[in-house]
Symmetry: C3
Subunit: 203 residues, 3 copies
């Protein structure tokens, strides 16, 4: 189980980073921009979580091997993009992204609760962890955040639902690992359904 979660974590981080790279390239940034936007997309949400909670050292400082994975990914991404192969909206990547959405939500909620955060702000921290990498990516590219666009299928909403599932299961004394799996599964399912049926916020 732990291995499965690690695989989800690593692939999700790489998918977040990859989509950041294609985003940076479309904005005409050079390699410094590509790398920065990739790192911000992958680690921005977790960094904001840790800074808001006062939780040090930061995730990417403690687990700096992830920085290397993103480095190693960058030449591959640049190679693909050179031949106009943008896979960032490919179905497989969106599915991995949806898994990451659930995992990062749970990680945010989990760390927040450990630090005695009340339930509602803990749920918010979960959503911020999962979604604000993308918001920071957009802000650094001076684009209106995709997260706020009424044309996009549900994203933060799925994370918010997942956060409450996770909180509820922990409060009902379910095993943390089970709660984590259910949180990822529910968030993933909601997000996948939102994409398939193009479900958007009605207001």
């Amino acid at each position: 189980m732990k291995t499965t979660l690690s695989v989800i974590e690593i692939t999700a981080i790489l998918v977040f980073a990859y989509s950041g790279m294609t985003h940076a390239r479309k904005n005409g940034f050079d390699y410094i921009g590509v790398l920065t936007i990739a790192l911000v997309s992958a680690f921005g949400g977790g960094t904001l979580r840790d800074v808001l909670l006062g939780n040090h050292p930061l995730y990417w400082i403690a687990h700096w091997e992830f920085l290397i994975y993103v480095f190693l990914l960058s030449p591959i991404a640049l190679f693909l993009l050179r031949f106009d192969k943008d896979f960032s909206s490919h179905r497989t990547l969106m599915l991995i992204d949806a898994l990451g959405l659930g995992l990062f939500t749970a990680s945010g909620v989990g760390i927040a609760l450990e630090m005695k955060t009340p339930l509602l702000p803990a749920a918010f921290i979960g959503v911020i962890t999962a979604t604000f990498g993308g918001v920071l990516r957009d802000v650094l590219s001076t684009q209106k955040p995709q997260l706020f666009q009424p044309t996009e299928p549900l994203y933060a909403t799925c994370a918010f639902a997942g956060a409450w599932i996770y909180i509820s299961m922990l409060r009902l004394d379910f095993q943390p690992t089970l709660a984590l799996i259910v949180c990822i599964a529910v968030t993933f399912l909601l997000r996948t359904l939102a994409i398939i049926f193009n479900v958007r916020l009605p207001f």
Copy 2:
């Protein structure tokens, strides 16, 4: 007195949040965007204060009931905006905003001084607390910050004056509550005069 200050605090937070909501709607954001911009407008300055000072837990984590108030405000705001009733530049709201400007400045200065911040940076922290919610709101909407526009009447300047009044009175051993009231009153007066006479920075 304490009740009066609480009433000012809550109404000011709601006014900040409401003006964020109208701002988000004008930018065409969906409900996630409306809620995020509302929360950032209301709590962004205080969050920046706490992060810069290393003061944890954050204001909205300790007082998460304020998150609920903003939640409850959102359907009302959306309802009004649906009928094109934008009250965000209404005189009453500007007056409450001016009260909040003074209160948040004092809160920033107060917490900074408690944490042994020297006077000049404490005054800066006060101004940041009161004004950077709006700056973050504008950055998230990729608009040039209103705070920096030469067409706007004095805002940060009033907060800066209020911050020094507050600091001076505390140093002269006035009662903290009295200093707070005078700070709010002076900031409010300056801001109101700036609006009435359209006073702007000459350079």
Copy 3:
């Protein structure tokens, strides 16, 4: 030696602040905007370093005399800009900026290592310290960060090289002051060569 380093630090901060002021003026900001962008340009990178590392009090809170220097610089800058004298791309300023690039990189790496940061993230913190004041300046002006533009000569790359020189020398037990000087010298040299020969990232 210590005096020389202090002189480099102060002049570099003033050059960063000055270039922020001209940047703000070109964006049509008023004095509040000019001052904010100047402070963000000068202290934004160091602030981000301290916030990411959880290192309090912040640099500009402990050394608030630097805030006063920036204040004192502002009328001079506004006076020069009024007569259309924009010296911000003048050769002398670019040289001082290049010295600052090296010094701030080393300061970031140094503080990161003191706080037990592993080497790779420490190098990143060094680059962030030296370059993110400019990124925050651009974000606050809603402009795509200059740091990411393929038309600009190497900047972050020089800082990254300097960071590794500094780390290597410290690990090889060279004297810290010597390591600092070599880091500044190498970063300065690389940056100067990049400007002269207009060296840019090839991808």
